[in-house]
Symmetry: C2
Subunit: 388 residues, 2 copies
C-alpha cells in the first residue's frame, strides 16, 4: 500500500538561468502539470521550497506568488525552508497531505538561483549558504560548508581508511553519469588524476570534490493512492522518512555516522516494508564526494566503512551492484539548493517509469532519494516503487 503517487514530473535544466524565481519555477511546474495531464485549477495545494530568495534577491512570500503565476491563485500554499533539504521536506509534507485525505492533488517543488546571475559573487553566496550553519557557535569561526563536511569526512577517513583517491572516484563516476543527462549542469568527464590535482578547498576536498552553485527548479504532481489509478503512469511513494541531527557540530557524538540519515532511512524503509537490500538504485546528496560516501553507508547500500572502497571498485557505478547518482548527482547534475530534493524525486519517477533516456537504468523496481540540509541535520529519505 503506497502512501501516495507521483503522476507528473518536471524540471528545468540545472545550470545558469537569468529568469526570475517565479518564472523559473513556472517552467518546472508547467512541465510537471503537462506530464500529469493536470490543469492548474485541479491542484488543491502547493508545497513549495525556496531557501535563499530573501537573501539573494529580496524575494520572499513566494508560495502565493508562484501559485498565482502558474494559475492556481487562491489555493493554500506554503513555503518550506530547511537548507539544502528544503524541497524534499516540502515533498514529505505533500505526501502526508494526500495520504491523510486533506487534499487529492498537490504540487510539490522548489526553486533556487545561486549563480552570479543573482548579482552576487561566490564569496557573497558562500556567506549566504553559511547562514544554514549555527549562527552563534559555527559562523563566527569562519567555517563554511566545505569545512563542515570536511570535518565529517576526515573522521571517516580516520575510522575507516577512506582515501582522497576514493573521493576522486566518486567525482569521476558522477561526472561520467552527468554526461548522459541533458538536464545536468556539467556535461564533461573528469579523470582521477585531474580530480586529485585540483586546488584544495577544505582538506580533504579539492575543487572536483565539491558540487557547483546552480540555478534551477523542479516539481512533481503528487496524488492520493486512490486517485492515482486515473493517471497514465503513476509511480508509488511507499515511504518517506524525515529526521534531524543535533546542531551544532560540536554536539554530534559520531559526526561521520550521519545519524539523521540512518533514522530517516529506517523510517522510510519501515513504511515501505523493505530493507536496503531491496533498493535497486539511489540518488543521494553528494554536495561533496565524501558526503556520498557517508550517505551510501547511512542508507545501508554498502556496509559501514566501505563507501569509499565501493566507489573506487565501481560497485556504485551504473552497471555496478547499486548504482548511486546515475543522474550525475549534485556533483555533476548541479545543486540549485531548493530544486535538489524534488529534482531527485523527478529522477526516481523517470527511472521507475523507464523514461530516463540516455541514463536509464535497466528496469529498476525500487529507488531511494536522500536529501540533506545543513550540518547533516535535516534529512529526508524517500522510497519510490514502479507499479508491476
Amino acid at each position: 500500500m503506497a502512501r501516495a503517487s507521483v503522476v507528473g514530473a518536471g524540471m528545468t535544466k540545472f545550470g545558469v538561468h537569468d529568469t526570475p524565481l517565479t518564472e523559473l519555477f513556472g517552467e518546472a511546474a508547467f512541465g510537471a502539470l503537462d506530464d500529469a495531464g493536470v490543469e492548474p485549477p485541479e491542484v488543491d495545494s502547493l508545497y513549495f521550497g525556496n531557501a535563499m530568495g530573501g537573501q539573494t534577491e529580496n524575494d520572499t512570500h513566494l508560495a502565493p506568488t508562484v501559485a498565482s503565476h502558474v494559475g492556481m491563485a487562491g489555493i493554500p500554499a506554503q513555503r518550506y525552508e530547511d537548507a539544502c533539504a528544503t524541497s524534499a521536506n516540502a515533498f514529505n509534507n505533500a505526501v502526508e497531505a494526500v495520504e491523510s485525505g486533506r487534499h487529492d492533488v498537490v504540487l510539490a517543488g522548489g526553486v533556487e538561483r545561486c549563480t552570479p546571475e543573482t548579482g552576487l559573487d561566490t564569496a557573497a553566496m558562500t556567506r549566504i549558504f553559511a547562514s544554514a550553519s549555527h549562527r552563534q557557535y559555527e559562523q563566527p569561526t569562519g567555517i563554511t560548508f566545505p569545512g563542515v563536511f570536511a570535518l565529517f569526512v576526515k573522521r571517516h577517513m580516520y575510522e575507516h581508511g577512506t582515501t582522497e583517491e576514493h573521493l576522486a572516484h566518486v567525482a569521476v563516476k558522477n561526472h561520467a553519469n552527468g554526461t548522459r543527462n541533458p538536464k545536468a549542469h556539467f556535461g564533461k568527464e573528469v579523470t582521477v588524476e585531474e580530480a586529485m590535482e585540483g586546488p584544495v578547498v577544505a582538506d580533504p576536498f579539492r575543487l572536483m570534490d565539491c558540487c557547483p552553485f546552480s540555478d534551477g527548479a523542479s516539481a512533481v504532481v503528487v496524488v492520493s493512492e486512490e486517485y492515482a489509478d486515473s493517471f497514465e503512469a503513476p509511480v508509488d511513494v511507499s515511504g518517506v522518512g524525515h529526521a534531524t541531527g543535533v546542531v551544532p557540530i560540536g554536539d554530534k557524538e559520531t559526526p561521520h555516522v550521519t545519524q539523521a540519515a540512518r533514522d530517516a532511512a529506517n523510517e522510510a524503509y519501515g513504511q515501505a516494508g523493505i530493507s536496503a537490500e531491496d533498493v535497486d538504485f539511489a540518488e543521494v546528496h553528494d554536495c561533496f564526494t565524501g558526503a556520498e560516501v557517508l550517505a551510501s553507508e547511512a542508507l545501508g547500500l554498502v556496509p559501514d566503512g566501505e563507501g569509499g572502497f565501493a566507489a573506487a571498485e565501481g560497485r556504485t557505478a551504473v552497471g555496478g551492484e547499486i548504482p548511486i547518482n546515475a543522474s550525475g548527482g549534485l556533483k555533476a547534475k548541479g545543486h540549485p539548493i531548493s530544486a535538489t530534493g524534488t529534482g531527485q524525486i523527478v529522477e526516481l519517477t523517470e527511472q521507475l517509469r523507464g523514461d530516463a533516456g540516455e541514463h536509464q537504468l535497466p528496469a529498476p523496481g525500487t529507488g531511494v532519494a536522500h536529501n540533506l540540509g545543513g550540518d547533516a541535520a535535516t534529512t529526508v529519505v524517500s522510497v519510490m516503487e514502479a507499479r508491476a
Copy 2:
C-alpha cells in the same frame, strides 16, 4: 469533534529583545511545554515559523537548530515562511499532523526580531519587509506595506464611507486594550485627536494607524483530540482555514474585500460547524488600523461596509458586541512577524481557559484568530472553543 487541542501556550513579551533567535524562541517554547506539563523528548515534531532571519541576521535552517536548543534534537522539524502569516500556517500544518495521526504531540510556534537590536535601521528593515511583495511588479515601484494596505483601505473608504476618524478609533481601542496586557509592546493609551494629528505614513494611514516592528516569540503545544483528555486544560481547535489571494495587487478585482480571508473563514467556520454569529471574540491581523476594518468584515463579525463605523461606535471594544483584539492586537501588543500567528493562538487559549488576567473577557466560548501575510495573500483563520 475538534481537529486538535492546544494544551500549552507560551510567549515572550513582545517588544525589544537583544537575545538570539534560538534563545528567544526557547523562552516561548519552554513556556508552552511547562504550561502543558510536557517534557521536550515527548514532542514528536516541530512546526516552526521564521520569516526573515536569513535577511536580518544571516540565520537560516533554524528548525533543527531550535529543536536541538530546546532538547528535541533528532525530531522531524520544518521551517515555514509565509510572510506575516508564517506561524499561523505552521500551526495549521501542526493541527493537520496530529489530526491525521501522523503525530500525537507537536510544538508549533515562531520567532522574529525586527527592531534595531538586529543592527538594522528602519529603512533597511522596511526594505526586508517589502521582500514579501511581488519582486517584479511591486518592489520596483517603491511601494512598501503601509502603501499596500493604504490602497486596499482607500478603496474601502470610497466604497463604504469609512473615514480617517474611524481608523483612529481602532488605534485608540487597541492601545487601550494593550494597557491591560503585560506582554504587549506598548502600554499607553492614545486619543482620537493624537492619532489624527500624527505624521502621514501612507495616506490614509498616520503613525498611529501602523503597528510597530517588534521582537518576540510564541509557541503552543498541539495534541491529537484523543490525547487531549490526559491534559489539564485543553482548548479545542475546531477549524483552521487557509487560503491565498491573487498576487500582485494589480490582479485583485476587489482588493478591499480581502477574498482570501473570506475563503479561509468559510473553511474554518465550516469545519467547526459554526457561523460568524457564534463567535464571541476575535484576534485579527491589524498591521494597520484599516486592516482590522477589512478583517472584521471578511470574518463576518460586522456587516460589509460597517467595519469602520463599528469601531467608532465601540461595537468591537471590550464590552461591545464582538470584542476584537482584546490583547491589543498587532497595533499595541506588537508584531514580531513570525511570532504573531501563534501569538494569537496563545491569546485565544488563555481567553478560553479564563487565564487572560487583566484583559480577560467574560467567559467566552468561541474565539477566532485571523493572521494575514503579504498583499492580503496568505490568510489563516482558526476557530478555537472552550470545553464545556
